[in-house]
Subunit: 316 residues, 5 copies
């Protein structure tokens, strides 16, 4: 009986989240539901996604030498499945190298654009290395796309996002946007400032994203014009929980799924506290790459297990 | 521990079935896996699909008056979900009328062609009433298509199937073919003759079907040339189990999923015995329409529950 | 030394055959060469192709009950490989069910049109059940297509052949035409008459076929107008060797590859004599289906081995 | 018996390599198998490819004056055939000038982009000088494409690669990527640094390459962030064998074919030692241009023969 | 008798030249043959083409004031016909203004890209001013296209050439490439250096040109890396005949038609000596614009007549 009541509550929460996307096709809703209903957090309205694009972004040695099984594309499928992640996101090659063998085991997101770090540019851009057609061919639930608000290339990136999102929605795929402020318009500190992070989330939502990934924001206010308003209107940004709440609010007042990156390797305790803040601030979950696959598998499973318990409310 | 071993066995069986489709894209494999892993029979390698195209085929009164909640498209989604069916198949309208509200609850199959019974033709044909694009828009795992081997229209139907199957495979959807011998080339008795049923399953497989639906065959042999061979080589067709085995063999020796229709309303005991024969003959499951939705919901759930228990080996 | 000289002679013969296709693209020449250079007869200028479309044409029971391993699509790939056939030809489903596992083992021909025998029509036609794109996807060297000269549907069949052949040549695939006189324009005896067979081969060549398959002709002359000329000009048609020579002559005087079907099951000695006649009359080889896969594998390998030895001149 | 066992082992090794491409179409698998099964190393799992694009890259005099028969396009077809190479790769013109005459003699790779050295640019780019359609027309097994990680043009090159790769895979062709770090992001020494080479191989794999060509890496570590990780995790890079192993590991842990360029003309002994290192480090073979066609034919055949013997394990 | 033997020798020479294009379609071969068999030099294997794009390149006054009838487009058709030229090449407008009246009188080449001299750029480019469709509409045998190896725009030019060449070949037209080294990568002297000219011819051949036009090369060696090789291998470049031979060798060892421009107005004797060098070095002919149409018609006819006599071997 209690199990049934819990199930009903969960179903209701998923429907509530999906109601934010009422104008989308049943195909898009289905693929969002596939992520929301999958894995350990299935039905809770929270998500933990495993992204593995660091090989492309930072090079294979920097990404996998610390835990060499990660060189093998199958490792990450297995990790996502066993940890009960909501989805696994990766560039074309990593999905091509395992999607057949792992068909149906975990929702897949094809990360459509990528960038390497062999050339350092002040205004970064990304290469489009996959397509919506690839995502269908590989059985994905959605496509991922990065934008760099603050870069001189941002307007072109928004435009390409629009084309890709339109094509994806046309075939029922979900659109997940990595919104990373970066480039000549921003100081290093500004990249994670609360006003900038909220702005980045809002841009992604306006550009048609279904799911938005941003970094956890600091209490810094980077833009003078924004700073004035934030201070005048006393937007609460003192605690991380406050700031998460503000970012979620900025992405259509909770009507868009906003998830936060796990950031670089830190002490686990710090990460767990961040997860609590995301949960308590109304965030929808985490996307945790390096912190997962750069440690031995058993450790990773325990680590992700704890994160999910916090999200599920089984750990305060 | 035993649970884990059972899970491993199930995963292995699904992989075994999918290995018969090695040349297909990961997308197709994913959508086949979605059906094979869903619902009560998820992971067993058996499937029970709920099809509701009788409204189109026989008219609403003939179909739903006996159990009026069935006039409501949501009723069938709910029935498929609650009964734990592997998938729900219906024409365009029925899916359009409920796919958003039931997004992600049960794998959907869009039945792409249909026929009404307002005109009786010796050589029947069907109208194409949906498209692969519709299936993507509605979040389906596959498309359904009927062919009538034996009808003067069959060659054109095979050709259209090819076009539809190619498009579906290109976007990662599964292709489910209803292969129903019918038309001027066949007597009434011939429509379900074992040689003709095996032939119908084989044609669907050669035409590129992933999942094949046929009627349960009788022991009759309709074609003289076939009769000679069956008798000379002593193909075992005495029991229904034998005949199911022969049909499965005829569909690439078990490398294509073959499911059998539940037929017209009969005594439940008869149906359960048929299900036992399908199970014991190596069939992959049932597709049961009228026998499900033309009785009160509680009855239907119990009836389908028993069918699934037989397939799962929980009832001998 | 002798080995090298033999190899040079073989290379020369292949180049000689290919010179008949000088206007075709290197892609088409490459795929013709792939067949001519593969298997036991590779390099001899002779070919033996295994076709398995009987399941579609006659039904699975009539085709495979006599040798049940043939229900399994892999059986035929293996048979073609082990026997050293020049190519394996089958409809879409049979190739889809094994092309991945047998990639690169034997040249494949996708039979693009097919017909079942559930409806007997005076003027037969075929359904298009595969496409040139399918052939590329499956790694084929060519596409097969049947025409029925003599049927009321022939003109449309010629037209469809043209479209398919144009598309195939545009992507470098070889075009193999099954030219089977049949239909209301012909008596049963006329279907294999020498004048009709020669005519059928010529039509295929004029329609752009690279490889032409016909039945072995009888000495019958079916058309009055032709009979007059054949008798007046004393075309030698007395022996089967004579008739093969005339058919090859009719297909552009030896500049198109003409192969002959192995016909229905007969005494092996009869078949071997036919093969000698094909060889001595300048035919390019055989396409042998039922006579191969309707006997136990070991028998089939011995049978095909003998056929190939005759073609290779190792048996007189 | 031993011959048969060896053949079985070889067939198994090829299947093992192809299993890394499980999601690809049978057409792609077929064309990969055509290279892996061709020539002297056919069936061993090792490949030696002859590439002749130096005429375009460095000019005809610099490329062919030292061995003038190389001005003739037929020379290179003949060399590849006689040496038993796994494939021959060249730009459009060289293939157009010989593919008809040499149809079916050796697997061909059309190098789709090229660059001349009449203008020296800090950030190099290439011109697209051929198409996937050209590759089909010429009977090729695959297309080749160069990327320059480290160049300011790299992102656009990755994007074009994606489009070309998608088109190639759609018609069953293999995708071979030359991944050459170069440009303003890298020092001369950095171009062949082990971290950069491993990164270049990984990028190609992520971009969807089936076969990856890189230069043999030095023990230099060029990127500070990588250097730190390599040293901390003690990635073994001391010997060339170690470094080859690391590059292969970086390309999906051996699930992508990685071959190494033969580099500039050196003493043969040096090259043979490099080949031993490639073999012992788990590399899949070599792509040797100038070292082959810039010496007299007899010398070249002996040189390539020795290389192949080392790969085949017939020379330690 | 002697006439017949001469005719046979000529036919053989044309076939020999066409054999270098064995992979091309009969349509392309036909259009090449039309030029090779037309006019005074028809059948000799030599060609003299009249190009009149100077109006576009240098302006009408600079081009035609010295011989005002040249302002009239018909003048050049007439000149080409009367002089017995192998073809007449011009931009869109000049052909549109006379192709109807002179239909069938002389093979036409539509020059597809052009450039004016109203703006002097270090790195020149050209505008595409005509299309393959225009060439068909105007009854042309081929299309002309200019590339500037050495210009910063060269890579894009090569890419456009590829697209145009593919389209032209697809409809059976010949592709004539003007390969003119020019741009920031080259000194003025380097533009006609023997190494650079040979390189330019090779690039055009690799890019798929059927006929290549270059300038007569000087004995200068412009690229250091090339200079080293030319000197070490003692490539003979002392005489103009030597240099022509080297350029022809660089364009696939005589398997591509290479013709040389007549250059700026010089003393006739100088031009005749150059023609002798082209002939003796194995060049295929000349393309002579200004030297023809910038003198009175009678003079031009005599001048071209002498050039053709030299090519035909009637003048030593």
């Amino acid at each position: 009986m209690r199990g049934h009541r819990r199930e009903m509550a969960m179903k209701k929460r998923i429907k509530e989240i999906l109601s934010g996307y009422a104008g989308e096709s049943p195909g898009v809703l289905t693929n969002l539901a596939r992520m929301l209903n999958h894995g350990t957090l299935g039905g809770t309205g929270k998500m933990v996604i495993l992204p593995v694009d660091q090989g492309f972004e930072h090079g294979p040695g920097r990404s996998f030498a610390v835990n060499p099984p990660g060189y093998n594309p199958h490792y990450h499928f297995d990790l996502a499945v066993e940890a009960g992640c909501s989805a696994y996101a990766a560039p074309l090659g990593f999905l091509e190298a395992g999607a057949a063998e792992h068909a149906g085991e975990v929702p897949l997101i094809l990360k459509l654009n990528n960038r390497d770090s062999l050339l350092d540019e002040k205004d970064p851009d990304q290469a489009v290395t996959g397509s919506v057609k690839d995502a269908l061919r590989l059985g994905c639930v959605g496509v991922g796309y990065t934008i760099y608000p603050g870069s001189a290339h941002r307007l072109e990136m928004y435009g390409t996002l629009r084309d890709i999102a339109a094509e994806a929605k046309g075939v029922g795929l979900a659109v997940i946007v990595w919104s990373y402020p970066r480039g000549s318009g921003l100081s290093k500190e500004g990249e994670t400032a609360i006003d900038v992070t909220a702005y980045a989330a809002h841009i992604a939502a306006q550009a048609g994203a279904h799911v938005i990934k941003v970094k956890l924001p600091s209490a810094h206010l980077a833009q003078d014009a924004a700073k004035k308003v934030y201070e005048k209107t006393q937007v609460p940004i003192g605690s991380l929980t406050d700031r998460v709440r503000h970012v979620v609010q900025s992405a259509f007042d909770g009507r868009r799924i906003v998830i936060f990156s796990g950031g670089a390797k830190e002490e686990d305790k710090v990460v767990f506290d961040e997860v609590r803040a995301i949960r308590d601030g109304g965030g929808f979950g985490s996307i945790i790459g390096r912190n997962s696959f750069q440690r031995p598998r058993a450790d990773a499973l325990e680590f992700l297990g704890t994160v999910m318990k916090i999200y599920a409310g089984k750990l305060t």
